[in-house]
Point group: C2
Chain length 159, copies 2
Amino acid sequence: MGHTNWLNEEEMNAWIAFISAATLVDRELDQQLKEDMGLSHLQYQILMTLNRAEAGAMRMTELAERIINSKSGLTYQIGQMEKAGLVTRRQCEWSKSGVLAEITAEGRATLERAAPGHVEAVREILIDVLTPEERKAVADGLGRVRDRIAERKQGGTCW
Amino acid sequence: MGHTNWLNEEEMNAWIAFISAATLVDRELDQQLKEDMGLSHLQYQILMTLNRAEAGAMRMTELAERIINSKSGLTYQIGQMEKAGLVTRRQCEWSKSGVLAEITAEGRATLERAAPGHVEAVREILIDVLTPEERKAVADGLGRVRDRIAERKQGGTCW
DNA sequence: AACTCCTTGTTCAAATTTGAACTCAACTGT
DNA sequence: ACAGTTGAGTTCAAATTTGAACAAGGAGTT
């Protein structure tokens, strides 16, 4: 230690490309969804995640982790979406302190209407811009990045 | 048109990995910077960008574009950082309506103290987790993604 | 049961972000 | 000089996010 191992040009390029693409893509998708359907990207992800879950329902904490959001933030968003009729809250059967967020029929309908435009945007902005090799590198490399960060929050074992 | 060209598994993997890594990395860095130095990632980026600019100063709008932020958001952040003594506002010489944000000596000092830890974190959570090939794919592919989005906002030529 | 510790989800205030409206300055054409 | 238009920054209210504090349940121990 002592001296910092600065990024060289090649590393810097990767870093800058990653961080700016991340910001821009997120912003772009948010706008597309908002214009087309009045949904935020976060809300879309919530609907998507619930829709895939069995019974279309999921515990708040698990949902928060899945979409990478704070618990209080999720409470807020589910509140909004409940007002909009996209989801409902229901008590968890086997635990009195648990709450299930469940997608409604209207939620599913909204998702179905939103999905085509969203997927098209994802292709146009990201997926179709990458070569198959780059896609693989992104899937593998960034997948590993994600897993490592997720593990480290979990394990807690900080050596 | 008509039928949606859904993402296949390979594409889905790339998409999911990208979006979750993006969220997690940003979150992680924000936390590291905040704990170590009381800076948000955005503030770090502002200091960084100003520090590199000649004379350590830059027009508000250009700065906003560079760090990918709304103009009003930047006005707010520069306000905060001005209170904290990290930057100053100065009138643009050749344009009375222009404002220059300039990094102060204290700002530079803060940046210098923050940089080593930040770079280390960037390595640990992203750069060193990728193979050189993956880094190249990320730099090239996501660089292209970034450029395309940037162009399209610019050109405005929507056909 | 009484006690302690951990987990769930919510609440609350403060910080931040967003987008539209607004103020001036700069540029155009007359 | 004078409208008409555009560009730069700011302001403002509303929406969202954050993190700490909180109420209530579970689970384990004595």
